[in-house]
C-alpha cells in the first residue's frame, strides 16, 4: 500500500489528526505569546530580572521533550488529560524564543527615538504601545515564527503520551515498519511547518520598520 492510497483511504483520520495537531500547536502558541511577550517586556523594565528569566527559559528548552512530558505527568488537572499535558509542554518550549525576541526587539529600538518619545511626555504605556512594540514587531514576529515551527515538530512527539496529533501516524508507522504510514503523519506536519514559516515570514517583512536613509 503506497502513501497516496493510504492517505485517501484514511482521509478522515488524517484530517482529524491534523486538526488535533493544529489545535495543540495553536493553543500552546497563543498561551506562549500571552505569557512570553509580557515577560519579555517586563525584563526590559526590570533589568535585574533579565538573567534569571532567560536562564529559566533556557533550562526548560534543554529538557528533552519526552522527559518534559514525563515530568509533567503527576501535575494535578494538567496530568489528567494527555492533551493538556502536551499543550503545557509545547507552551513552555515556545517561551524562550518569545521572551528573548521581545527583549531584543525592544532593547534595540534606537535610543534617540526612545529619548525623544520620553522627552515629549509619553507615559510608559504610551511609549510601549506607540513606539517600542511597533518598532520591535518584526523581531517579535520572528520569535513567534521560530516558536511555531518548533512546536509543529515537537507536537508529533506528544503522541507518545497519547495526546493525538499527526505523531500518532508516525509512531504507528514505526511500529508497523511501514513508511507510507510514517509519511502520512510526517508530510502533513512538514507542510504545516512550511506554511506557518511562510506566513509569518511574510508578516515579518510587512512589519519591518523603514530605516532612516
Amino acid at each position: 500500500m503506497n502513501f497516496w492510497s493510504f492517505i485517501t483511504q484514511n482521509r478522515y483520520e488524517v484530517a482529524t489528526l491534523t486538526l488535533e495537531h493544529l489545535w495543540m500547536v495553536g493553543i500552546s502558541t497563543v498561551l506562549a505569546v500571552a505569557v512570553g511577550i509580557p515577560l519579555g517586556v517586563l525584563i526590559t523594565r526590570k533589568r535585574s530580572l533579565h538573567k534569571p528569566v532567560i536562564a529559566v527559559a533556557n533550562i526548560i528548552q534543554t529538557i528533552p521533550s519526552l522527559a518534559l512530558f514525563g515530568f509533567l505527568l503527576p501535575a494535578p488537572w494538567i496530568g489528567e488529560r494527555a492533551e493538556r499535558l502536551a499543550i503545557l509542554a509545547l507552551t513552555l518550549y515556545a517561551l524562550l524564543p518569545l521572551i528573548r525576541n521581545t527583549y531584543v526587539g525592544i532593547t534595540s529600538v534606537d535610543r534617540a527615538i526612545v529619548d525623544a518619545a520620553r522627552g515629549m511626555g509619553l507615559t510608559d504605556w504610551q511609549l510601549l504601545y506607540k513606539v517600542e512594540l511597533p518598532l520591535a514587531a518584526s523581531v517579535i514576529l520572528a520569535g513567534i515564527r521560530v516558536a511555531l515551527v518548533i512546536s509543529i515538530g515537537l507536537a508529533t512527539i506528544a503522541a507518545a503520551i497519547g495526546a493525538g496529533g499527526l505523531g500518532e501516524l508516525i509512531f504507528r508507522g514505526l511500529a508497523m515498519v511501514n513508511n507510507s504510514v510514517i509519511l502520512a503523519g510526517a508530510i502533513p506536519a512538514a507542510v504545516m511547518a512550511l506554511l506557518a514559516d511562510g506566513t509569518l515570514g511574510w508578516l515579518e517583512k510587512r512589519f519591518t520598520p523603514q530605516r532612516a536613509a
Binding site: D110, M120, T123, Q126, P134, R211
Partner: protein, 248 residues
C-alpha cells in the same frame, strides 16, 4: 523660566558629571550651552525635562522645582529636539508631529490644522505630512523635529545640537529660519552646541561649560572679548577665519 541653583549630577558610580551649576534662562531668550564633548551640556538639558534626575541642588521650571512637577506634565510643557531627531520611522511626518497633541486628546480637525500650520512655520510644504521620515532629506527631518517639538505650543524649548548633522549651507539656512521663528514665537530656548559660530549666531547669552562646571555666562556679543582664559581658549580653537576677537 528655567533656573539652576547649585545643581550637581553624579553617576551611580560616583563620577560627577555636573558640579554646582547656577544659572538661569530668561523668558524669551535663547540661552546657548556651549562646550566641548563631555562638558555636561547635554546632561544639563536632560535634567530639565527629567530624562535624568538632579542629584543635588535645585532646578526650577517656572518657579517650581522639577521634582514637584508631574513628570509627564513637565515634559509636555517643554519641547525637545535632538540631533538624531528621533523621528518615529513607523509613523508619517504628520503623525510624528501630531503625537503629543493626539495623546493630549485634541480633536482630529484641530490636530490636522495644527500640523499644516507647523509645517508652514518650519518652511515645509504641506504634502510632506504624508511621507515617512526615511523619504526626507536630513534638513527636512530636522525641520520636522523642530515642528514636532513645537506641536503643543510649549513655552520652553530644549534643543540638543538640532542642526549638528547638517551640511554648512543647510545648517546656516535652518539657523536663520530658527532665529526668525524664535522672534515670532518668543519661546524660551535652551540650545546646546559645541559650535562657537552657531552659539554666536543664535544665542542671546552663552553659557560655557567645561568639565561639568559653568566657566562663564555672558551675552553673546561680549563672549569674544571675554578675559576669562577658558573662554579665550575656546574662541582661539575656532581659528581666525572669521569673527576674530579684537586684541586689546
Amino acid at each position: 523660566m528655567v533656573e539652576f541653583s547649585n545643581v550637581s549630577y553624579v553617576l551611580p558610580d560616583g563620577r560627577r558629571i555636573l558640579q554646582e551649576l547656577t544659572f538661569g534662562a530668561r523668558r524669551g531668550e535663547i540661552l546657548v550651552l556651549l562646550g566641548r564633548s563631555g562638558s555636561g551640556k547635554t546632561t544639563a538639558l536632560k535634567l530639565i525635562n527629567r530624562l535624568l534626575e538632579v542629584s543635588s541642588g535645585q532646578l526650577r521650571v517656572e518657579g517650581r522645582s522639577t521634582k514637584d512637577w508631574n513628570v509627564i506634565e513637565l515634559r509636555r510643557h517643554i519641547g525637545y529636539a535632538i540631533q538624531e531627531v528621533g523621528l518615529f520611522p513607523h509613523h508619517t511626518v504628520g503623525r510624528n508631529i501630531a503625537l503629543v497633541p493626539s495623546v493630549q486628546n485634541w480633536r482630529k480637525e484641530k490636530i490636522a490644522v495644527r500640523v499644516q500650520e507647523l509645517l508652514r512655520l518650519v518652511g515645509l510644504s504641506p504634502e510632506i505630512a504624508a511621507r515617512y521620515p526615511h523619504q526626507l532629506s536630513g534638513g527636512q527631518r530636522q525641520r520636522v523635529g523642530v515642528a514636532r517639538a513645537l506641536a503643543a505650543d510649549p513655552p520652553i524649548l530644549l534643543m540638543d545640537e538640532p542642526f549638528g548633522a547638517l551640511d554648512p549651507l543647510t545648517r546656516a539656512d535652518l539657523q536663520r529660519e530658527f532665529l526668525s521663528l524664535q522672534q515670532q514665537l518668543g519661546k524660551t530656548v535652551l540650545f546646546v552646541t559645541h559650535d562657537l559660530h552657531e552659539a554666536l549666531r543664535l544665542g542671546s547669552r552663552i553659557a560655557l561649560l567645561e568639565e561639568g562646571r559653568l566657566v562663564s555666562l555672558t551675552s553673546a556679543n561680549k563672549f569674544l572679548t571675554s578675559s576669562e582664559p577658558l573662554v579665550k581658549k575656546y574662541v582661539d580653537a575656532f581659528g581666525t577665519n572669521d569673527r576674530q576677537p579684537e586684541k586689546p
